[in-house]
């Protein structure tokens, strides 16, 4: 019988094949949602994993190294820069 905490689907099921040939169920933490730009597109170059594992990555693996990297998508960033320059002129 499944224990109570495993009925609510807060943890995801992972089926693992043991060395003896049986398949067992392991319950693991779910990954967070994709990081998204304000326009709604998924951000590329940003890893999707639980925070503890992302902490272990290097600086350049966490987000793109351009301005607004990890916050805006590239096209939105270009629009923003253009808007800023036109405003200053």
């Amino acid at each position: 019988m499944v224990s109570g905490k495993h009925k609510s689907h807060t943890l995801r099921k992972v089926f693992v094949k043991t060395p003896g040939g049986r398949t067992t169920v392991q319950y693991k933490r779910r990954k967070p949602q994709h990081t998204r730009c304000s326009c709604g597109t998924k951000l590329l170059g940003v890893p999707r994993d639980i925070p503890g594992r992302i902490k272990k990555l290097s600086k350049s693996e966490k987000k793109p190294s351009r301005p607004y990297g990890g916050n805006l998508c590239s096209s939105c960033m270009r629009k923003q820069i253009k808007a800023k320059i036109e405003a200053s002129l």
Partner: protein, 169 residues
């Protein structure tokens, strides 16, 4: 708008938002840029041309561009070579390099063992004295001719020993 000396703003990549100048027109689509960006080939789509234009030679070097940018009070991208640092090395407690050398010297002196050498010399000297005594005794006892023959034999033997020694070397 795309011509040599045109000031632009870079829109893409890690230099995005920085000002640059067109140094060379390579193609319908590509130009060479320099200034507050890494000097590189760039697509014109990734540039936002501004109204200003700078007087610059065709294919100007980075130094020329940097000088003109400084006159206009604009920032310049400059790559710095990394300074090589000395690797930190652990020193063992109580043993500086001077002390180690002193220790080595003392070890060599110990291994030489001068007392044994002296003993060996003494033995050799004794042997030499005994040989002389024996030779004197033989000369007294035997007639002169026989002694000469013996001496010849000894010389032959000495030569043989010398050859052996050379081979060993």
């Amino acid at each position: 708008m795309i011509e040599i000396g045109r000031l632009c703003v870079k829109l893409a990549g890690r230099d995005a938002g920085n000002k640059c100048v067109i140094v060379e027109v390579l193609d319908k689509n590509f130009v060479m840029i320099d200034g507050n960006v890494r000097r590189r080939k760039c697509n014109t789509i990734h540039l936002l041309p501004l109204k200003d234009k700078i007087e610059i030679k065709d294919k100007a070097t980075h130094e020329d561009v940097a000088a003109t940018f400084k006159k206009l009070k604009l920032e310049v991208w400059e790559t710095k070579a990394k300074e090589s640092k000395e690797r930190p090395r652990k020193l063992r407690k109580g043993k500086t390099p001077e002390e180690k050398e002193a220790q080595k010297k003392s070890k060599k002196q110990k291994t030489a063992k001068p007392e044994i050498k002296k003993e060996v010399e003494k033995v050799v000297e004794k042997a030499a004295v005994q040989e002389e005594k024996l030779e004197d005794a033989i000369e007294k006892e035997l007639p002169k001719e026989k002694v000469e023959i013996k001496e010849e034999k000894t010389t032959v033997k000495k030569k043989a020993t010398k050859k052996k020694a050379v081979k060993k070397d």
